[in-house]
Each structure stands twice: as structure tokens, then as C-alpha cells.
């Protein structure tokens, strides 16, 4: 017995020592002094292999031009939960994208790296659209990200469903009354949802409701900073809610499912189940990359604006940020990558053409409607460079591209943006799922909640 025990003890000790040695040997060795390795968010999970291949081409180009930087692509899409978990575990990619609404909050909370020095050193820094750069700047003037794209909200519609319903796809609706009528017609003649609005409780419902409110001339906040006041219960929001209430319960033109978020509504649209919906003007990229949309069905136009001085279209965009604990070598490398991959193709002809060529070769969309990062002149110039490579149905996008620059662009509510949207989520859900929802009462409650959250965040 004793010798068995002794043998067992020895075996256990030796095994654990061996395991420790193996673990130690397989631990990543630190990079040599010359090269800096940065991990960059590549594409959102679920992207097509062609899109992934295109990205790897770009990485190869960059590494060739910068031999001292190694780039490791990582599939990462920024979301609140995964960001927090990765931040705590220190497994964030060095470079990742963040929407406008979140970047400032994160920057103010110290959860993004301070890139002021590196960004100010970029050659085109002074030419950046100040409104767009403001979205990346905290209240104390720290620049925490570089804008990579700006967009305006748009009304996307399915040309095929329009035709099936007896509507002219080249004449999309130009007023909210028309949207209502067209939705009813599509629902009646094709059985699909004529108009769908995001209704998921992940802030997208509030985001689209805010879009509709802006188009009618309302605002969700007044004032700024610590003296900002919540105005969720403005009359235009009530009008917007009454409109979807009518479409949902009276016309029955919104289908039977109302909990769509940003990605599932794109999926439903690409699958041909949605007549019209509102989302950012840049979703065509996602429709192609993740949902393999048939280009022939896609149409986009501007959101109808009310005849009021305050009516405008909600703008948004994406920024590229760096993880807060990156050292200065990593930050410099990161900004170089951001400059190369995201911005160069907008300011340098050769890079624009090279980028467009490889996108086309991998069947990725070129020429998706966006807003200028610098100014309209630069934007138009960049578009002429890539004109021969544009492979999106620009004619089908004309109703949007021809009218968007005549619309007033309004930034998102500045204080506690996501909290404002979240307070509105439940209102939208209530209206869409409860026939007897009391809109005035719901808006008042949402306003109180939002005001409290705004006060706590400043």
C-alpha cells in the first residue's frame, strides 16, 4: 500500500511539473524590439469569405509598406457587453470601430486611448469636417478616435415588392402620408410587411423613433452639458408614435413581428419580407456582406421631412478607436493602420483606386452612399476617382444621393445618447404590441427616466 501511495504521489508531482513547463513554454513570447504587433478589428462576425479575403489583401499591402508593424486581423463587432468583458480581460483588439453615440461616452469614462497627439499629426487633420470630428472629441478636448464614415438616415425600400404591389419603384414616397399609403398597399397586395420599424429593446427602437421625430421637426433634448433637459414628450414624437400606431393596428401594414434590431431587420429586408424601413444610409454594405442581397431589389431614398425649419435628418457615423492600455508604440502603429485602411482611400487617388480594385475583385460593394468626412468637394473628388469601379446600383440609389445634400443634417442627442434611446425603446414596444397603449403617459414616463439618466451621466 505504502509503495503505491508513494508512486502515486511522485506521479502527480511529476505530471504537474511537466504541465507547468509546457504551459510556460507555449506562452507567447514578447515581440522583438523592432516590430510592433497590433490586432485590428477586421469584419463583423458572419462575413462572407470573399469579404474576409479582401481584408487580408489590405493587411498584406499595409505590412509591405510598414515592415516594422505586424497586423493581426480579429473578427470583432463593437457591442456594449462584449466591449466591457474584453476591456476587463484586456483582450480588446488594439484597433476597433465604435459608433458615434458611444465613442464620446467611452472616451469621457477613460475607456478609449487618448490619440490627440497622433491624430493632430496627420496631414489632413485640419481638413476634417468639424462636426464629424466633434463626435470623436470629449468635453475636455481629448480626441479619442478618428472618424471613418458618416451617414445619414435613409428610407430603404424593396423595388420588387413595390412592383408587385403596383407601385412605381422609381417614384418612392416623398411624404409620410405616402409612406402610410404605400405600406398599406404593399401589405394588402403582397402579404409582406409594408413598413417596418426597429422595435428591439437594445436602443435601436429609440434610435429610429428619434429619426422619425427629427424628420417631423422635434428634438429629444434641449440645452447642453449639465443643463441639458430631456424633451422626449414633444408633440412630434407623439405624432410619430400615433403614425406607427395607425399603421400597426388600423392598416395592419407592419406585419406580425416587432422585435427587429439592426441586423435582423437587414436580414428580413434582404430576404424580401420588408417593403420599407429606416436605417443608416450605409447598410447596403452589410446587406451584401452578411445577407447576400439581390442588388436588383434594393432602393433607397431620403426620409420625408416635414415643412418646418427644425425638420432634418439624423446623422450618425462610425469612428475608429484604440484600446486604452495601448502603449505609445502601439498607438502610433494603430493610427498608421487607421489612416491607411480607413481614411487614405478618401484623400489619395492611388490608394482610392487600389482599394476600389480589390473590393471589386472580391465582389464587395464600392460606392455605397455616405456623407463627406471632409467636405463635399473632397467627397465628390474621391467619387470621381473610383467611378469606373462603382458596382452598386447607383441609379437605384439616386433618389437618396440626389436629395440628401439638400437636407439639414442633425447630430444625435449629445447627452447620454444611448440612455435616451433606451428610454424610448419601451414606448415603441408598447405602441406596437398593446392596442390600448397610452402614448402621452408612456412619453411622460420615458422623459422622467431619460432626465434622470442624463443627470447621472454628466
Amino acid at each position: 500500500m505504502k509503495s503505491t501511495h508513494r508512486a502515486a504521489t511522485v506521479a502527480v508531482v511529476v505530471t504537474s511539473l511537466l504541465a507547468a513547463c509546457v504551459a510556460g513554454a507555449s506562452a507567447k513570447s514578447s515581440s522583438s524590439q523592432a516590430t510592433v504587433t497590433i490586432s485590428v478589428a477586421s469584419l463583423i462576425p458572419g462575413s462572407t469569405p470573399a469579404a474576409v479575403k479582401e481584408f487580408e489583401n489590405q493587411v498584406a499591402q499595409f505590412e509591405k509598406a510598414n515592415p516594422s508593424i505586424k497586423v493581426k486581423p480579429v473578427e470583432y463587432q463593437w457591442t456594449g457587453p462584449t466591449f466591457a468583458a474584453k476591456l476587463a480581460a484586456k483582450t480588446l483588439p488594439t484597433v476597433f470601430e465604435v459608433p458615434f453615440t458611444d465613442a464620446r461616452t467611452l472616451g469621457e469614462r477613460g475607456q478609449l486611448a487618448d490619440l490627440t497627439r497622433e491624430i493632430k499629426a496627420l496631414p489632413y487633420f485640419s481638413k476634417l469636417n468639424p462636426a464629424v470630428l466633434a463626435e470623436a472629441t470629449t468635453a475636455r478636448g481629448k480626441i479619442v478616435a478618428l472618424p471613418k464614415g458618416a451617414y445619414a438616415q435613409a428610407l430603404h425600400y424593396n423595388r420588387k415588392l413595390f412592383t408587385q404591389a403596383g407601385l412605381d419603384p422609381s417614384k418612392p414616397p416623398t411624404t409620410w402620408a405616402q409612406i402610410r399609403a404605400y405600406a398599406k398597399q404593399i401589405a394588402e397586395r403582397t402579404g409582406k410587411a409594408g413598413y417596418l420599424q426597429m422595435g428591439k429593446a437594445d436602443n435601436t427602437a429609440g434610435w429610429i423613433l428619434t429619426t422619425v421625430t427629427y424628420s417631423l421637426g422635434g428634438r429629444m433634448q434641449s440645452g447642453s452639458g449639465t443643463s441639458a433637459r430631456a424633451t422626449l414628450d414633444n408633440p412630434q414624437t407623439a405624432t410619430a408614435l400615433n403614425l406607427i400606431k395607425t399603421m400597426r393596428w388600423t392598416d395592419n401594414s407592419m406585419g406580425s413581428n416587432f422585435d427587429y434590431g439592426w441586423s435582423d431587420i437587414n436580414q428580413a429586408f434582404a430576404a424580401g419580407n420588408v417593403g420599407m424601413y429606416i436605417s443608416g444610409s450605409d447598410v447596403y454594405t452589410n446587406l451584401v456582406q452578411a445577407s447576400n442581397i439581390d442588388p436588383g431589389i434594393y432602393g433607397v431614398t431620403t426620409i420625408p421631412l416635414a415643412k418646418s425649419k427644425t425638420a432634418g435628418v439624423l446623422g450618425g457615423g462610425t469612428l475608429v478607436a484604440v484600446r486604452p492600455d495601448a502603449n505609445s508604440a502601439a498607438k502610433a502603429a494603430a493610427v498608421k493602420w487607421i489612416d491607411f485602411y480607413y481614411v487614405r482611400k478618401l484623400v489619395t487617388k492611388s490608394q482610392a483606386i487600389r482599394n476600389a480594385k480589390s473590393l471589386v475583385a472580391n465582389k464587395q460593394p464600392v460606392g455605397v452612399p455616405a456623407l463627406p468626412l471632409f467636405n463635399k468637394k473632397q467627397y465628390d473628388l474621391a467619387n470621381t476617382w473610383i467611378k469606373p469601379y462603382i458596382n452598386v446600383p447607383t441609379a437605384q440609389m439616386a433618389p437618396f444621393t440626389s436629395r440628401i445634400f439638400g437636407q439639414k443634417l442633425i447630430p444625435e442627442p449629445a447627452v447620454a445618447t444611448q440612455s435616451v434611446y433606451h428610454s424610448l425603446d419601451t414606448v415603441v414596444q408598447a405602441v406596437l404590441t398593446d392596442r390600448n397603449a397610452n402614448i402621452a403617459q408612456l412619453l411622460q414616463q420615458a422623459n422622467t427616466t431619460a432626465q434622470d439618466l442624463m443627470r447621472r451621466s454628466t
Binding site: A84, G110, F258, D259, A430
Partner: protein, 327 residues
């Protein structure tokens, strides 16, 4: 003689054998650390060391960290600051908290009302079968084997609110529906309970089946002689005999349903108008949602409060049912 301590576990011996015992002492030494190590204590320790480390790292250390975090405010980048009981105050003042508690109680109550008797009924019926019992047991357990997330996503498509949805189509064949399922505040929670019952009943059925084999069949025979129907047999013999198991599965179910997160999160994200917002989902939202996120202190505080409540509840429950569960 008696200056020597008695060896633990050994009863006192008569004086005649004491001399023999003295001789024994030379062969069976006292238990000291060295003898403990020599007799295999070290091996035992080394073998349970991995388990201790794993539990320590993944269970006990996070619990300690949660307690600490509930008293702090942090942004996960800079060192945290101590804020005392502020987080608990914030949580208690949140207007969503009563709603979350109410919804959780509703879920637990529905699960108890419908989800609790079903596995028992199934087990009783299955134990009456002579043949194919194994087939039924396998079928009943299959839903448990399906990964929970997959099951929820599957059911989400089944719960499509239009008349073309899977469930609505089937119900339409017998003239029922179409029902809104997840699209209405009144039907969302029952839909969640339905899926949760389907996914989890199988495990309990297997437990009950095993417990039923321990019921003395002579009792049933005696009851048959007295002319008892199946229902009376179940009520007067099966249930009392299974008392212990039933009480344990009841408290386990209550604890599990009080912590429900997966179904509300994946099905409805808190449901139409907060109707499926549960306490766990609220904790999740405090920590991770809508980039206000990062109120990890409040999340930790609410987690602690829930754990404390369940601990107290369990103690009270076990106390009250102690007399019932003993034969």
C-alpha cells in the same frame, strides 16, 4: 497505561487487554503530520488540489470579488474607488427593480404551477408502462441535450407571430390562433415558461423515474386489493413516498427560476415593454447594456442582494420542510 491517548474511534478496552494495546502502539503510531503524510494524506491533498484551484479560481474568488466590487465604482481601466453602500442605494431606488422582481416571481410562479407537476406526471405515467419505457425516457431527455441557446433560437422562429409561423400554422389546423406569442406583453412570459419547461423537464423526469423505483410495490398491491384507482394510488402512495425528492426538486426549481436569464435575454431582451425583464437581466443591463454600462458596482450589488435573498429563502424552506421530508 492510561497516560496514552486513546486512538480515535476505538472504544475503551478492559484492563486485561491494555497490555496488548501497549504492544499495539509500537505497530500503530499516533497520528501526527508525518504519519498523515506517510499514510497517503499528501497524495490525497495533491489529487484534490486541482479541484480546489479550479473552484477557488472560478467560484470562490469571483464571489469575493463581487462583494468587493459592490462597494466600489470602476471603469475597468483605472483603479476602482470605494463608494460604500451607494451602489445598493442606487439599485433600491431604480424604478425598474420592482418590475423585475414582479416578473421574476411571475416566471417562477408559472414554472411552479405548470412546469413542476408535468415531469412528475410524465414519470408516473412512464413507470406504468411495461414496454418502451426506455424509448420514452430517451425522447423526454432529448430536449435537455440540445444546447439551450440553440433551443431558444429555434423556438424563437417557431414563435413567429404571423399566421405563417410554425406554431400558428399547426394551431391553425385545429382552428386556433394566430397568437402573438412574444409580440405581446401578456403572452410573452407564458411563452418563455413553455419553452423553459420543454427544455428542462426531461432531467427531472429521469430523477423521478429513479425515485419511483424505490417505492415499495407491496404498497401498490395492497392498494389494488382495496380497489384503489390509479389516481388514488398516486395521491396516497406515490406522492408521500416521494416526499423527500419532491421537496428537493421544488427548492432547486425555485432557485433556478429565480435566476432565469437565458430565455428573457435571447427571446425578447426584456420583452415587449419590460414585461419579461427579470432580475438577472437587470443585473446584466446594469453592467453591459447601452454603453451607460459599466455600472458594475450596481450589478454586483443586485447580484449580492439576490444571492442573500435566495440563501435566506432556502434556509427558511429547509427549516419548514424538515419535518415533512423525514419519514
Amino acid at each position: 497505561m492510561s497516560a496514552v491517548d486513546a486512538i480515535p474511534g476505538e472504544s475503551t478496552t478492559p484492563p486485561a487487554a491494555a497490555a496488548l494495546r501497549e504492544a499495539d502502539l509500537w505497530r500503530r503510531p499516533r497520528r501526527t503530520p508525518l504519519t498523515w503524510a506517510r499514510s497517503g494524506g499528501l497524495t490525497t491533498l495533491l489529487l484534490i488540489l486541482p479541484m480546489l484551484l479550479v473552484f477557488g479560481a472560478f467560484s470562490w474568488y469571483p464571489i469575493v470579488q463581487t462583494v468587493i466590487m459592490s462597494l466600489q465604482s470602476t471603469n475597468l481601466v483605472d483603479p476602482p474607488t470605494w463608494v460604500g453602500l451607494d451602489n445598493f442605494r442606487t439599485v433600491l431606488e431604480d424604478p425598474l427593480l420592482p418590475k423585475a422582481i414582479e416578473n421574476t416571481a411571475y416566471f417562477a410562479g408559472l414554472a411552479l404551477l405548470f412546469g413542476y407537476p408535468i415531469p412528475l406526471a410524465a414519470a408516473v405515467l412512464m413507470s406504468e408502462l411495461r414496454r418502451f419505457r426506455g424509448v420514452y425516457a430517451t425522447l423526454v431527455y432529448l430536449p435537455v441535450v440540445i444546447p439551450p441557446v440553440v433551443a431558444v433560437l429555434l423556438w424563437k422562429t417557431f414563435y413567429d407571430g404571423s399566421s405563417a409561423g410554425a406554431f400558428n400554422t399547426v394551431l391553425g389546423w385545429v382552428g386556433l390562433g394566430p397568437y402573438p406569442w412574444l409580440q405581446s406583453a401578456s403572452t410573452a412570459m407564458p411563452s418563455l415558461v413553455l419553452e423553459a419547461t420543454w427544455a428542462n423537464a426531461g432531467a427531472t423526469v429521469i430523477i423521478y423515474l429513479a425515485a419511483l423505483t424505490s417505492v415499495n410495490s407491496e404498497l401498490y398491491e395492497a392498494a389494488s386489493v382495496d380497489g384503489a384507482s390509479l389516481w388514488r394510488k398516486v395521491w396516497h402512495i406515490t406522492l408521500p413516498q416521494l416526499r423527500g425528492v419532491l421537496l428537493v426538486t421544488m427548492i432547486l426549481q425555485i432557485i433556478a427560476t429565480a435566476q432565469v436569464f437565458l430565455e428573457p435575454y435571447l427571446f425578447t431582451s426584456g420583452g415587449p415593454n419590460n414585461s419579461t425583464l427579470t432580475v438577472l437581466l437587470l443585473i446584466y443591463n446594469y453592467a453591459f447594456a447601452n454603453s451607460l454600462g459599466g455600472d458594475y458596482g450596481s450589478a454586483a450589488a443586485l447580484s449580492l442582494m439576490l444571492a442573500a435573498f435566495l440563501a435566506v429563502f432556502s434556509l427558511v424552506y429547509l427549516r419548514l420542510t424538515r419535518s415533512w421530508s423525514t419519514e
